[in-house]
């Protein structure tokens, strides 16, 4: 497991939030406007750390779009994780060499509060500046910290409300399924933002089905599309267990989603399988998903893919493939969020195999999803394991 530095963790959280890099959020502009008026300062800003820069998703006054991190007052909230202030920056060794302090007129007064995500990582600051020397009294400091708390809430709100919406539409299976000597186990660790992984599994008599899909594109449009994808895939699943060709199944879903996919300019990757637990034949189709492995009991590893593109890209015939599972064989399918958790994504098959092979299905899934708690995932992380038990 990799140890994640504070900077890396911060960067991941900032990426997850998906804030606009240009322009600003009106609600943050408003909070800054209130601060400017309340404290009679020329400028106030919400700042967010992004690699070696600090960008400004909300502010009031004469502010740049972004500033190199080492030129900011705000970098100091990272060291203290608490409020930082100076009444006269021109004689404060922490700040006196900053370009804004050497400028004319110089920034003399600064008060900044750290903005933290729920995991405790500082991602930015809420601050006020003045060209005059200033001293805030206790009441002003208290008022300022209230505004900072508000700014923090708003900064995180969009990501969280998106997540809540996705949770409402997701009716994911919650326990392993066992039929004869076959089983399916699957789970999803949701990212802070709207990741939009969809997975489902179930059975009809002795035939089981499992599928994983990912909307390529995030935000509200993708979240809304996600529930249509869910409907299209689940709606026709009975035909699959009754024997419908999986290539045709994907084509049918694509036709059904065509208008919405066109309108949103999004694509959907899908891996869908169906297995007859009496004949032990497993059928599958892949629309640009590409992340399924067959781990043979004999120690061999095969990638189960096709050459079909994601849904919505190019309408064309899609192909079903077949494979026979022998006792002890396992099929593992992961979502692309997993690529972001392994040391070297190019060698993901080796990484997934080394995590799955020595463990039971449930343990393996725990381990893979455990990586996601260590590193905040940029995307949902989903794992499905189908096994024909020995």
């Amino acid at each position: 497991m990799t140890i994640v530095s504070a900077d890396e963790r911060r960067q991941r959280v900032v990426d997850i939030l998906g804030l606009p890099e240009r322009g600003s959020l009106p609600v943050l502009d408003r909070i800054a406007r209130i601060a400017r008026r309340m404290f009679d300062v020329p400028s106030s800003a919400v700042t967010v750390f992004d690699a070696d820069r600090v960008f400004i998703p909300g502010g009031s006054g004469d502010l740049p779009e972004s500033i190199p991190r080492e030129h900011t007052f705000c970098q100091h909230v990272l060291d203290t994780s608490g409020p930082v202030t100076t009444s006269d920056a021109t004689c404060d060794p922490r700040f006196r060499d900053l370009p804004a302090v050497r400028a004319d007129p110089a920034i003399r007064f600064y008060l900044g509060y750290p903005l933290t995500e729920p995991g405790g990582t500082v991602i930015g600051a809420f601050c006020v500046f003045d060209t005059r020397t200033r001293e805030f009294d206790a009441a002003q400091v208290a008022e300022f910290s209230d505004l900072a708390a508000w700014a923090q809430r708003e900064l995180l709100a969009e990501a969280e409300s998106g997540r809540a919406r996705a949770a409402q539409t997701a009716l994911l299976p919650d326990r392993p399924l066992r039929i004869g000597d076959w089983s399916v186990t699957g789970r999803c660790a949701a990212a802070l933002n709207v990741g939009g992984d969809y997975f489902d599994y179930g059975a009809d008599g002795h035939v089981l089905h499992a599928g994983l899909a990912d909307v390529m594109g995030k935000g509200t449009a993708a979240a809304l599309l996600g529930s249509s994808v869910h409907g299209a895939l689940r709606g026709a699943i009975q035909s699959v267990t009754e024997g419908m060709d999986l290539g045709r199944y994907l084509q049918r879903a694509e036709t059904q989603l065509a208008d919405e996919l066109d309108r949103s300019g999004a694509f959907v990757t899908v891996f869908q399988l169906s297995a007859d637990t009496r004949t032990h034949r497993l059928r599958y189709a892949d629309a640009g998903f590409g992340l399924a492995l067959l781990l043979r009991a004999t120690g061999e590893r095969e990638r189960l893919t096709g050459d079909d593109p994601p849904l919505g890209l190019r309408r064309r015939e899609r192909r079903e493939h077949q494979v026979e599972l022998l006792p002890g064989d396992r099929l593992v399918c992961v979502s692309d969020g997993v690529l972001d958790l392994v040391e070297n994504p190019v060698r993901w098959p080796e990484a997934v195999e080394s995590l799955v092979r020595p463990s039971t299905d449930a343990e393996a899934i725990d381990t893979i999803l455990g990586l996601a708690t260590e590193r905040p995932p940029l995307d949902d992380v989903t794992v499905i394991i189908v096994q024909r038990h020995p």
């Binding site: 935000g219 590409g290 050459d307 994504p345």
Partner: protein
């Protein structure tokens, strides 16, 4: 962190996205490609060498760009993908659609 450089070489526009092409930057990327495709050049090349990371939204934006290019009859070529970017294209079978070139020169010369 994301930005796009624009270069003009022998009647072609070369776009150089730098940083992380993700859901946060996919919109800006799409705008830049659309502008380039409508600029009247014979060819648009997207040099991916400066991309540190691409996620599925970024891939979606690349595939969308290819689709706009097809519709407008302007050839669009991509090149310079790093290991991570190439892996993402291969897994989704988008390499088949995007047909990536190794270098900018190769993409320009293929005319």
């Amino acid at each position: 962190m994301f930005e796009i450089g624009v270069d003009r070489v022998e009647g072609a526009t070369v776009l150089q996205p730098r940083g992380r092409l993700t859901m946060a930057s996919a919109g800006a990327f799409r705008d830049a490609v659309t502008t380039a495709l409508h600029a009247g050049d014979q060819l648009v090349v997207i040099d991916l060498a400066g991309l540190a990371f691409i996620d599925s939204s970024g891939l979606g934006a690349l595939a969308g760009a290819q689709r706009i290019a097809h519709a407008g009859d302007v050839p669009l070529r991509v090149c310079g993908a790093s290991d991570q970017v190439r892996l993402a294209m291969e897994l989704t079978n988008l390499d088949d659609l995007l047909q990536p070139f190794v270098t900018v020169d190769a993409a320009l010369d293929a005319r």
